[in-house]
Symmetry: C2
């Protein structure tokens, strides 16, 4: 059942074929949404091939139903990681799970990139255990897209919650990795990097942030980015920055605050537009424009948090992703695989990190490793 | 020129008269917006009296123009704190400023509460220097309203940026102060308090947050609140919580992220509703409903971050507040003064904090004071 990359792909590399390892279990909507997502991603990009991990008895009929048998290699895994499983448990006893098996396919180079809708903490733990951190990376990070007024429509923000803390050298690494990600995923030649703070003046924030400001400023040339200094929460949708660097606690709170605010705005707008007959009629006339707006900010289009800083690329799809969301994560994974992102990121971190390490960062780095 | 509370008010205390000390300078729109705001607040609440601080030459004509001479005591101050002044400078050399003078009126009990649109950092520094911290409070906090689906329409969140860090005993104090604020400003008898984290499970977050979870849980009865445990960024507009406790860094990023997201949503909606003739016609029909929505979430209605943990109440109005925003901050200040908020808060902190201090918090508290 174990097949090499090219064989599983059934198409030569140079034609753009990409093999994606997919965890079919563990999402809130179950394997049917994942297999439906595979079908959609494949229709949009027929060079894609998949190694699909999970319970054979459930997956075989789903794959057949969507006519995907020719492009999917099924890998049976009995165990399923649930949203309630603790990462440490999964690391110790999770080797029979679809999540573990999904990451394993990237470790063995059977697939170029892994995608899972499962439990974020467990996926990061298994990914770190099996893929290991890149040389020069102390804390891996999760990068996400955020809707913005930039030409691409997106900013990149990291860390969104891989780790609850980050010291100055970690924040430098996030800047390097985030810039590399923006280059490969958004096609920006020289991304603008900003560091999240509670004010834009250089004296603001704590000592760690001021140290990170210096490190990020010094590494601009080697990192291939422009450092624009401190940014604030209201810069998330801004057109003056492409990559926003912060620790995983702050990033996670900001991500969820933004999601919560957008949901509230959408709910209030719906209430307003159904509050009277006149409003309903108005909404009907404006329907086409409102639908375009809704598509523009559809969070499913931005689905896919990418784990950065490992030997291999892992894309975390939202747990509640439907087929459209899963397809977006798979197409993002394919784009990263085709651009050779994993290798480029590794090279960028290796070339630029040492400059940070002989800065005041040595001590802080040791401290955080305790 | 120095007059006592009742004289300045020109009305006996029991009629609901309240004297508010107002910094007329330092806002982005200058003294005219502030004096206009005073006029609006007074029309809404004719028992209000004001001590107005700033340049006499600018203020006298404005006060006369609005017919406010009978209810305003003018206190001349030559200096103005700008948005670029550093807090430490203002503490050392700011005694001639309108901001300093505004806080001084609360210290001498000439006014019940102070309101300023000026530089937040400087206002906190001057307030701490002149009013001093309440016994039992290590770090004062700034509390703000956040639009929510609760019956009142608001949640309270703190700290919004008084200090970039907070340890477990500080977070307990924020919970006590935030609950007291929600009781007095929103009329909630037993507010529900949540602690911001990156997950709602008890094992999530760092050690400081887990310690704060224990302290907040143990102090529920004495604090007069219900502790609902950890909340996440998407709970900010939620109806399951009234008071959200977090450190000033996270709170400030969340506040600005929410503001930025709401502004983006509003800008995109405007673009959508002007993108075609049909959409414009639809918007016209739905205009009344959209205006009600806009009023419902108007950030000016929630204007006023309150400094908690000092001997006296200081309300920080948004720097860019117009007359409507200033009036909202003044009316909030009046509500707090009438409820005897400053005394109630002090009593609540004094009665409940010692229980926290003999918990594992002692060490952390010493550490943070270094």
């Amino acid at each position: 059942m174990t097949q090499g990359r090219d064989t599983a792909a059934g198409a030569p590399e140079h034609s753009g074929a990409v093999v994606i390892s997919v965890d079919a279990m563990g999402g809130d909507l179950g394997p049917s949404a994942v297999v439906d997502g595979i079908a959609r991603a494949w229709r949009a990009d027929p060079a894609l091939r998949f190694v699909v991990h999970g319970r054979e008895s459930e997956l075989t009929p789903l794959i057949a139903q969507h006519g995907l048998a020719g492009i999917c290699t099924l890998r049976h895994a009995e165990g399923v990681v649930t949203m309630h499983d603790k990462p440490a448990q999964v690391m110790r006893r999770g080797s029979d799970t679809s999540m573990w098996s999904t990451v394993e396919s990237v470790r063995t180079h059977e697939a170029a990139v892994a995608v899972s809708c499962g439990n974020t903490g467990a996926l990061m733990a298994v990914s770190m255990l099996r893929l290991r951190k890149l040389p020069g990376v102390n804390r891996p990070a999760i990068a996400s897209f955020w809707p913005s007024f930039n030409a691409s429509g997106w900013n990149v923000m990291l860390d969104m919650g891989a780790d609850v803390k980050a010291d100055a050298p970690d924040l430098l690494t996030y800047g390097l990795m985030g810039a590399s990600y923006a280059r490969n995923a958004l096609g920006l030649e020289r991304p603008r990097v900003g560091l999240m703070n509670v004010g834009t003046e250089e004296h603001k924030g704590n000592a760690e942030l001021r140290a990170a400001h210096e490190l990020l400023s010094a590494a601009q040339e080697r990192g291939g980015y422009e450092f624009i200094g401190f940014v604030e929460g209201n810069d998330l949708p801004s057109e003056r920055v492409d990559v926003i660097v912060t620790d995983g606690f702050t990033g996670n709170v900001a991500l969820k605050t933004g999601e919560g605010t957008a949901k509230m705005a959408s709910r209030l707008l719906k209430e307003a537009l159904t509050s009277s007959w006149l409003a309903k009629l108005g909404a009907l006339l404006a329907m086409a424009a409102l639908k375009r707006l809704s598509a523009r900010i559809d969070p499913r289009r931005a689905n896919g948090g990418v784990f950065l800083g490992l030997n291999g690329t892992v894309v975390k799809s939202h747990g509640s992703a439907d087929a459209t969301g899963v397809a977006a994560a798979l197409n993002l994974a394919a784009r990263l695989a085709r651009s050779g992102f994993a290798e480029r990121l590794a090279a960028r971190v290796a070339s630029a990190v040492p400059a940070g390490q002989d800065a005041p960062s040595g001590e802080a780095s040791n401290e955080s490793a305790k």
